[in-house]
């Protein structure tokens, strides 16, 4: 697409798309905030938050073929999966662990996303395991193309695999092996590292002796990009470049998006033990939702009125989701026993 080289890919985003992106950031934020309240009220045992990561995630979703391309997310990807089609109700059901919950039938903790109909792969807790698996998804795409099982411009089929993780998780051997395979086989693969400078309490310099995760791309012969993860359009540009590389057979990209986890690691954490309030306050000035709102206001895409409408709509949706999830039935105890093996007919 030579037309794009002159201008930033984000410049081609329609107003409609920009508003949608804003909406998903807002909806995710309000859902997330509600979960914290529910946890404080003792209604749910656990919550882990995407607050501060919304810009990165919504941009990632919009840069790919949402709901078609394979996405293998991590626990902090609430905005990402919502932008792909997971609803506040789905999420609330998982917070409570109610019968038939979308991702796992309430077998997994919340934020272990997964939705077959959206090509969101079911996630686990051990970090970085998704990276070489996502390389395997990308390998499958390349395989299907090479074997004539899929045609290169069939946009109804997945044409890339995107996976996400935190910067701390790149310390795992799993990450190395996944990146390496992606490089060796030149796979349609994007690894999006959401660098929020902490892995629970351990700061970046406790994880690696380089200052940017993107520096590590060189070890794998893949393309590396580092980007401001609080800036929707900057992340969109980076991710779009990565997606275009994948679609056109140019291979894998490692994208580092630098942002901040504005909450404790999870509802089990107390971040006051390891980072200063000043630091947190400083980063709050870069709240991605506020930044994007300002930008869209400035560009006349958003208006005060629209903001209020969106807020009201988000509140209504979150209220409704919570109420319905609260009222939903619990799983039967014996549901613990199902789905150990897929039946042979499914082969």
């Amino acid at each position: 697409m030579p037309e794009l080289t002159a201008e930033r890919p984000s410049a081609t985003l329609s107003e409609e798309a920009l508003l949608e992106m804003y909406w998903y950031m807002l909806l995710s934020r309000r859902t997330d905030e509600r979960a914290w309240v529910m946890h404080r009220q003792g209604k749910i045992p656990f919550h882990i938050s995407a607050i501060g990561h919304e810009a990165t995630q919504v941009a990632a979703a919009y840069a790919i073929n949402r709901g078609v391309d394979y996405v293998h997310p991590y626990y902090r990807d609430l905005t990402l999966v919502m932008a792909i089609g997971v609803t506040p109700f789905d999420f609330m059901m998982s917070l409570y662990g109610k019968k038939g919950e979308l991702s796992s039938g309430a077998r997994q903790m919340p934020s272990h996303f997964g939705a077959k109909h959206l090509n969101i792969i079911s996630g686990s807790s051990p970090v970085a395991t998704q990276v070489p698996q996502a390389a395997g998804l990308a390998f499958a795409i390349k395989y299907r193309l090479s074997q004539g099982l899929q045609s290169p411009d069939d946009t109804s089929q997945p044409r890339l695999a995107l996976t996400c993780l935190g910067e701390g998780s790149t310390s795992q051997g799993e990450w190395h092996e996944g990146m390496n395979w992606a490089g060796v086989h030149n796979l349609p693969f994007i690894c999006l590292v959401q660098n929020n400078f902490y892995a629970i309490s351990v700061p970046l310099e406790g994880q690696m002796a380089v200052s940017s995760v993107a520096d590590r791309a060189a070890a794998y012969g893949v393309h590396g990009i580092s980007v401001d993860g609080t800036d929707v359009l900057a992340v969109y540009d980076a991710m779009k470049e990565a997606a275009d590389r994948a679609y056109s057979g140019e291979g894998a990209t490692l994208v580092e998006a630098r942002c901040y986890r504005m909450t404790p690691h999870s509802s089990d954490d107390d971040d006051r033990t390891y980072r200063s309030r000043e630091e947190v306050e400083e980063w709050k000035k870069k709240d991605p939702l506020v930044l994007f709102q300002k930008r869209l206001l400035k560009e006349g895409v958003l208006t005060k009125k629209l903001i209020e409408e969106y807020e009201a709509k988000a509140k209504a949706e979150v209220d409704d989701a919570q109420q319905r999830a609260e009222a939903a039935p619990w799983p039967k105890p014996e549901e613990a026993l199902g789905d150990v093996f897929a039946p042979l007919e499914e082969a």
Binding site: H72, G114, K116, Q133, G136, F341
Partner: protein
């Protein structure tokens, strides 16, 4: 019927499955031009090309993880781990990931993949080229574990494994690769994963084994038959999920049970067989449940005298049969 070795049957199974289903591919170290260090994939890259017979980087966890990803995307990977001893780096991907996808996604995502690996001792391979690892995986719900002891079963079970919608660990007794020969039909067949095989019928004692030890148990049963002892040999074949009926039926008939495995004794696979019998066959037992296994040391030693000391063999099995029958 063609007479062939265990490894030839394995190669043939893969060849036929590659031909049958374009989604089937093979990956692992040296599986391409080299045809595998044991030659299990010999000739396949020439026939199916480097896209379907893929030399992997030297990295087991990603061999498995790539397989998982490809299986999620509806391909049918056959992943080779060069020696079972080197499967441990992939333990997380197998036990935490492959095994749990179906359950953790409420049946949305499944992982139809095969992990093949040669296992077992007696080939001067010492601590790191002799291991038996089946017990680790048979303990993990969500994994199927298969170990053949005849060419017929090897081919038929491997074809079933490739067609199974679940992750199947397929361990091959490497000492038997060329030592074990048998008839294999020309025509297409499969052996279902699940049922055990009564390798030899008998009345006095049940011997439970699999892989090389099943092969040895048959030899031992033949030895003691000369002395008038009628030993039933049950080749378990599928270790997980195990065929409880076959175990019960045999022990209810004979009243005596010997479990043979070459892995370390403690918590080796035979511990579960013994525990099942102790629970479900109590009223039929005419003696203790005995286990003949490798000693609890950290590996099969290299030097012959020590290796022989470690490994169960037909004579040791025959002795254990005699002792238990005499109980």
């Amino acid at each position: 019927m063609a007479q062939m070795t265990l490894i030839q049957a394995i190669t043939q199974a893969m060849d036929e499955e590659l031909a049958r289903d374009p989604r089937v591919f093979i990956t692992g170290e040296d599986v391409g031009k080299r045809g595998g260090v044991f030659r299990a994939t010999m000739g396949l890259i020439e026939k199916y090309g480097p896209e379907r017979v893929v030399d992997s980087p030297l990295a087991e966890l990603s061999i498995v993880a790539i397989g998982i990803g490809a299986a999620l995307a509806d391909l049918r990977p056959i992943c080779e781990i060069q020696f079972a001893d080197f499967i441990h780096p992939a333990f997380n991907q197998i036990a935490n990931e492959a095994a749990r996808f179906y359950y953790r996604s409420n049946g949305q995502w499944r992982v139809p993949m095969v992990i093949r690996s040669p296992y077992g001792g007696g080939i001067s391979g010492a601590l790191y080229h002799s291991q038996s690892v089946e017990a680790f995986f048979a303990h993990v719900p969500g994994l199927k574990v298969v170990i053949p002891s005849t060419p017929y079963d090897a081919k038929g079970l491997l074809k079933s494994a490739v067609r199974d919608p679940n992750p199947v660990l397929f361990f091959e007794p490497k000492k038997g690769y060329r030592a074990i020969k048998g008839d294999v039909p020309e025509e297409e067949y499969i052996v279902p994963i699940g049922p055990a095989r009564i390798a030899r019928e008998g009345e006095d004692i049940s011997v439970f084994a699999y892989g090389m030890m099943a092969y040895y148990a048959e030899i031992a049963a033949e030895q003691v038959a000369q002395e008038g002892i009628s030993a039933e040999v049950v080749d378990l074949r599928t270790l997980a999920p195990v065929d409880r009926d076959a175990i019960r039926n045999s022990v209810m008939k004979t009243g005596k049970a010997l479990v043979v495995y070459e892995d370390n004794l403690t918590l080796g696979y035979g511990a579960e067989i013994a525990a099942i019998i102790a629970d479900e066959c109590f009223e039929y037992m005419d003696g203790p449940v005995k286990r003949l296994a490798g000693p609890d040391v950290p590996g099969v030693p290299f030097s012959h005298p020590m290796q022989d000391f470690f490994m169960p063999n037909p004579n040791k099995i025959a002795d254990a049969i005699r002792d238990l029958v005499a109980y």
